[in-house]
């Protein structure tokens, strides 16, 4: 009887270690020689009245820490999807030799009250471990999602031409391949949100000095918008270059 109780307790402890979200999470090991992503990761679910986000984490020695970090990151990304303020500028300097990037001062801010509210409603819909990364799909509603392995896709059409919709603005974000894959996706998502901000509001200021033998131009682009319901729609990795692509969208009614 005592042995049976001990076994039961050990099993329960192991179960809690794996479940970072407090519910059953599916752990998917990628087969050797290739990454298999769940369908919901490459093509995010899109449902009216629900917003989805993915939380990322590198795989740590203690897998429980990875799940917990991915969940925390999922909460932050979900808050960004609901409400994010993007403000700042980027500058370019042009001369006879070409145009050079001079840096940017872009700030991406989340509503802290929204973050607290979402914390109590957060629902982990699925999770997976792919290579050295743990991902968790989160939302505020319990919705069944397609967690079958996503088929490897050739270059999607949105890489060259953004989808057109009368209701949504679309934007792409790209990131190089970093050591931790989770960082590549996080950076691509951040850039996609910033691109959405540029799409919605751009103020351009240009100062040009042109002489007979000289040319000097400073271009400053500024933006300042609040994006609401800006969700990641799709993801793709270029197999040749390792570049991570992300497609994001937000409703056109979003006010600047």
């Amino acid at each position: 009887m005592v042995r049976w109780i001990k076994g039961f307790l050990l099993l329960g402890f192991g179960f809690l270690l794996i479940c970072g979200c407090g519910k059953v999470l599916v752990r998917r090991e990628a087969p050797q020689g290739g990454q298999v992503y769940p369908h919901w990761f490459m093509e995010m679910p899109l449902r009216r009245g629900a917003i989805f986000a993915v939380g990322y984490s590198p795989v740590y020695m203690n897998i429980k820490s990875s799940w917990q970090e991915a969940r925390r990151n999922g909460l932050l990304n979900l808050a960004k999807a609901y409400w994010v303020s993007i403000r700042g500028q980027q500058a370019f300097v042009s001369g006879l030799t070409g145009t050079a990037y001079r840096g940017s001062t872009l700030s991406v801010e989340v509503d802290s009250i929204q973050l607290k509210m979402l914390k109590s409603k957060l629902t982990c819909l699925d999770s997976a471990q792919i290579g050295g990364m743990v991902i968790v799909l989160v939302s505020t509603k319990e919705i069944a999602v397609d967690n079958t392995p996503a088929p490897s896709k050739s270059k999607p059409t949105w890489i060259e031409k953004l989808p057109f919709s009368p209701d949504y603005d679309y934007a792409r974000g790209v990131s190089p391949k970093y050591l931790h894959e989770s960082n590549s996706w996080l950076e691509a998502e951040r850039r996609a949100r910033i691109q959405l901000a540029w799409e919605q509001r751009t103020k351009l200021q240009q100062l040009r000095q042109k002489g007979k033998l000289s040319f000097h131009q400073v271009t400053v682009e500024s933006t300042g918008v609040i994006l609401r319901e800006a969700q990641i729609v799709a993801r793709w990795i270029d197999p040749e270059t390792g570049v991570h692509w992300v497609l994001a969208r937000c409703p056109k009614r979003t006010t600047p």
């Binding site: 070409g98 790209v174 190089p176 570049v243």
Partner: protein, 191 residues
Amino acid sequence: MRELKLFVVLLLAGILASCAGSSQKVKPGSSGPCPEWFSNIPEDPNYFFGAATAVSRDLQIAINKAKTEGTAEIAKQVELHISGLTKKFDEEVGLGQDANLYAKYTQATKIVVDQTLRGVKVRYQNTKQEGTGWRACVLMECNLNEVDKGLVDGISKDREMYIRFRDSQTFKELEKEIEKYRQYKKEQRLP
């Protein structure tokens, strides 16, 4: 010694030139590293287009550079279009003779240019690896009808301006075109 100085100067110039990225504007008919749409810009009287290409070691920066160049190209075209309309209004309404009216009109056009740039979108984008960096080619677009609509709305908001402008041929033509555009948007369920 002089030769050594010359060599150092040339070496530094070479390093500086290789560090700077390049950004080229559209040269119609030119064949380059970009796809077909870059040199053969679509002909659409309802749109302004701005094509640009840029290189950088970071792909996103290459895209941003090209998009900024393309947007600047469109801004120039919008300003040119506005200045054409200003000339027409000047002939018909006598903008230059009334300082108050001219100031109001200038303010309205400034708002139009600012709002128009919010509507600049990417029609096509192409990226590819080039040496150790990336090349991005973009074709930006902006709807001409939105520019005209913004200007007519700006004029109509001010009673004094509207009274002076409404009977001019240019204003009537603009209103006609905008009405056509409104119908099109309604049919296409556009916002």
